[in-house]
């Protein structure tokens, strides 16, 4: 088991790449930077493949496979080891992260070819891979937290990559600070975990939690508190309501960064964390309900904002927030497998969508406004077709990757929480509408730009090949679950079964009775009936309706959107301005905070209290000295008088002592 014993290699490769490029790459030619960056990540991918091969040969009782490398922190009973672990969940994440990561590295060599700070970009990107893999491989929550914060740091660095642009700098800071609010909860959650279980190792925590009674809706205890605190961290990192505001702004970063960090991997860390901590969540029904509600609400809410955005990347950003909401909805109703499944397929198709958007922007020479595109279908066919496939995938058209995962999520939600299911369903319709709106505006219709000014050209091969590979995955990436439709097994679920099995049963135990009937009905049909049933289920119908509506609005009657916007002016403006959430946050939180910082903390506490104390003690010393120095009058007779006074004083003292003694 050479690779399983040396899991650290997976981490060391991208870290070495980051260090080499970051420290030495400044004056290297681009080809050298490329080979270090892509080499390290693709080697990491190969290492992961080898890990998977060895992992599949492990006997079941050795899973999760934990390797402890060195003790990191020891303080009394608080022990943290640098330990890595591999189980089925880790495998899924590792493969997704390294594979999509490698493709995006390759794509970046084309996209960033004309940018300054080339070595810096790839150094950050490799560093990100290192932290993301740390997060995924961690065997205890403290090591996980290292990865968690590390990806946040890299996100900040890459959003603000063009650091001469004021908006990029602010977006980077916004992302960092907003996620920090969530991380505050996460940190307290970690402390509470240690306080409760006296350990930070996942294995120890989960085996102890297994012995604890499940908390109920009416009796919430420490587990619920821990879960809600941890989920706060996930809300920040995965851009859920109410902390989602940073993700749309994060689009200031280079597009490959949006694809890798703000769509495929980092933002899904929250989902991964909830899935990883499922033994706790499954015992805290209130926390589960919160996760589900936040997820469904976010899915719906940000989908509505996506409807009216005109910046191609902003649409995708709100779409990402919405899809992450789906994943949390899945976790919240106990369908962790479906959540992770959607995480994986989403990494494929949303990564692809962003890369395609990058390719479009590249072709348009930097233009991001969809209203100024149009008719690009013929000019950039590879980008068009791959993006078309990805759009089908995200819209849940049967046969594409997103169909399987989204269907599973909505099915699980339907059986456990009907209102949330309805919300998710509507969001699915909105999703297909805004995605096809994007496609129609960008690739169909009349050209809205001056052909002589904009030289539209297809992207180079190092950009299109990753697109094609991801397009394949956007179609076939969900087919693990396909046999289920004809009465077979869902291979993805079967693979993850050992991780989630015991808890999923428990979570659905209460609903067994409720679901018994419909499940019975379904399984009564023949495989063919199941297939028909799945292909004509509500998610599919709603999705197709969305597509049809988008077609009607943007192909058939292109004047309609404007008219509709005018007739519902109030609502339209509200949504166009993203419900004024940024403005509300600015008014309620940012500006009061600035006011308090300026007037209270700066002018009162710092200038008044702290400076006052320091300056005051100096003034006291100076003034005392000023008074005392007047004793030094230069007049010998006054000195003499002082000597006399002193002598008399000493004599009186001695006399006093003498009289006391006798």
């Amino acid at each position: 088991m050479p690779m399983l014993d040396h899991l650290w290699i997976i981490l060391a490769l991208p870290l070495a790449g980051a260090a080499i490029n970051g420290l030495l790459g400044k004056n290297w030619p681009k080809s050298a930077v490329n080979s270090v960056a892509i080499g390290s990540v693709s080697l990491a991918f190969l290492a992961v493949v080898e890990t998977v091969r060895e992992f599949l040969q492990l006997p079941a009782n050795q899973v999760p496979w934990v390797r402890t490398y060195f003790p990191w922190m020891t303080a009394g009973p608080f022990k943290v080891n640098f330990a890595l672990q591999v189980d089925q969940l880790t495998i899924v994440m590792l493969l997704t992260v390294t594979f999509v990561g490698t493709l995006i590295h390759i794509y970046s060599t084309g996209y960033m070819a004309h940018e300054g700070g080339y070595y810096r970009f790839f150094s950050y990107l490799n560093l990100f891979m290192f932290f993301m893999l740390t997060l995924v491989l961690a065997a205890n929550i403290v090591v996980m937290f290292v990865g968690w914060e590390g990806v946040g740091l890299c996100s900040y660095l890459l959003i603000g990559f063009w650091f001469l642009k004021q908006s990029a700098i602010s977006a980077g800071k916004k992302a960092f600070i907003t996620t920090r609010i969530g991380d505050f909860g996460f940190t307290i959650g970690i402390l509470l975990l240690f306080w409760t279980f006296h350990s930070v190792d996942f294995g120890t925590i989960f085996s102890q939690a297994a012995g604890m009674p499940s908390e109920t809706m009416t009796q919430a205890g420490v587990l619920t508190t821990i879960c809600i605190l941890l989920f706060t961290g996930a809300v920040g990192k995965s851009a859920q309501l109410p902390l989602y505001v940073w993700l749309p702004d994060a689009m200031e970063g280079p597009t490959p960064v949006s694809a890798l960090i703000h769509a495929a991997t980092m933002v899904t860390a929250g989902v991964y964390m909830v899935a990883r901590m499922h033994p706790l969540f499954s015992r805290a029904p209130i926390a589960m309900l919160i996760v589900a509600i936040v997820g469904a609400a976010t899915a719906f809410y940000s989908a509505t904002i996506g409807l009216v955005q005109t910046d191609i990347k902003k649409v995708l950003a709100y779409s990402t927030v919405s899809q992450l909401g789906y994943m949390f909805l899945a976790c919240g109703v106990g369908a962790y497998t479906a959540g992770i499944f959607h995480l994986m397929t989403h990494a494929f198709f949303k990564g692809l969508l962003f890369l395609c958007a990058g390719s479009v922007i590249h072709a348009m020479g930097g233009e991001q406004d969809m209203r100024k595109m149009g008719g690009l279908r013929k000019a950039i066919p590879v980008t068009f077709w791959t993006m078309f496939i990805a759009t089908f995938a995200i819209s849940g058209v049967p046969g594409f990757a997103g169909f399987f995962s989204k269907d599973e999520i909505l099915e699980a939600a339907q059986h456990s929480n009907a209102p949330l299911w309805l919300l998710g369903l509507v969001a699915a319709g909105l999703t297909s509408f805004y995605m096809f709106r994007l496609i129609f505006l960008t690739f169909f219709g009349k050209q809205q730009f001056d052909e002589h000014k904009v030289h539209v050209h297809e992207s180079p091969r190092n950009m299109t090949i990753p697109l094609i590979i991801l397009a394949f995955l956007s179609i076939f990436g969900g087919w693990f679950a396909a046999p289920k439709l004809v009465g077979g097994t869902d291979h993805f679920e079967a693979f993850l079964h050992p991780v989630f099995a015991s808890y999923q049963m428990q979570a659905t135990a209460g609903q067994e009775e409720a679901t018994a009937r419909p499940v019975g009905e379904e399984s009564a049909g023949t495989p063919a009936m199941d297939l028909v049933h799945a292909f004509t289920g509500p998610p599919v119908i709603v999705g197709l309706l969305g597509i049809l509506l988008a077609w009607w609005f943007y192909i058939r009657r292109p004047d309609l959107p404007k008219r509709l916007a005018q007739s519902m002016y109030g609502l339209y403006t509200l949504v166009l301005h993203k419900y004024y959430v940024d403005e509300i946050y600015a008014a309620v939180i940012v500006r009061p905070l600035l006011w308090i910082s300026t007037n209270v903390l700066w002018h009162t506490v710092d200038e008044g209290l702290i400076d006052g104390t320091v300056n005051g003690s100096a003034r006291l010393a100076r003034e005392t000295g000023g008074k005392l120095r007047e004793l030094q009058s230069g007049n010998a007779r006054s000195y003499a008088s002082w000597v006399v006074v002193g002598a008399v004083g000493v004599t009186a003292l001695l006399l006093g002592i003498w009289m006391k003694v006798h």
């Binding site: 007047e630 030094q632 009058s633 230069g634 007049n635 007779r637 006399v644």
Partner: protein, 102 residues
Amino acid sequence: MNIVPISYYLVLSAILFGLGVVAFVFKRNIITIFMSIELMLNAVNLAFVAFARAHNQLDGLIFVFFVIVIAAAEAAVGLAIVITIAHNRRSLNVENVDLLKF
């Protein structure tokens, strides 16, 4: 032979010392101040001698020699300073010599 009690010597010494102090503080002429220092030194010498005699020990007497030697040295240095001051200021009033101050 009637031995004069030690307390007499000590009282005399204290009176002389007190006179020296008063003169030191209140007189303005540097020479007078200088003399009052000598007076104080010799008042102390008297006390030393008286104690040496009363206790029949030599320590006090030896100390007196030291004091006399120091007083002689001091007189040499002090009078030189006095002459310089008189030379520069055309005055022996101590109140005029107060430049060394804050």
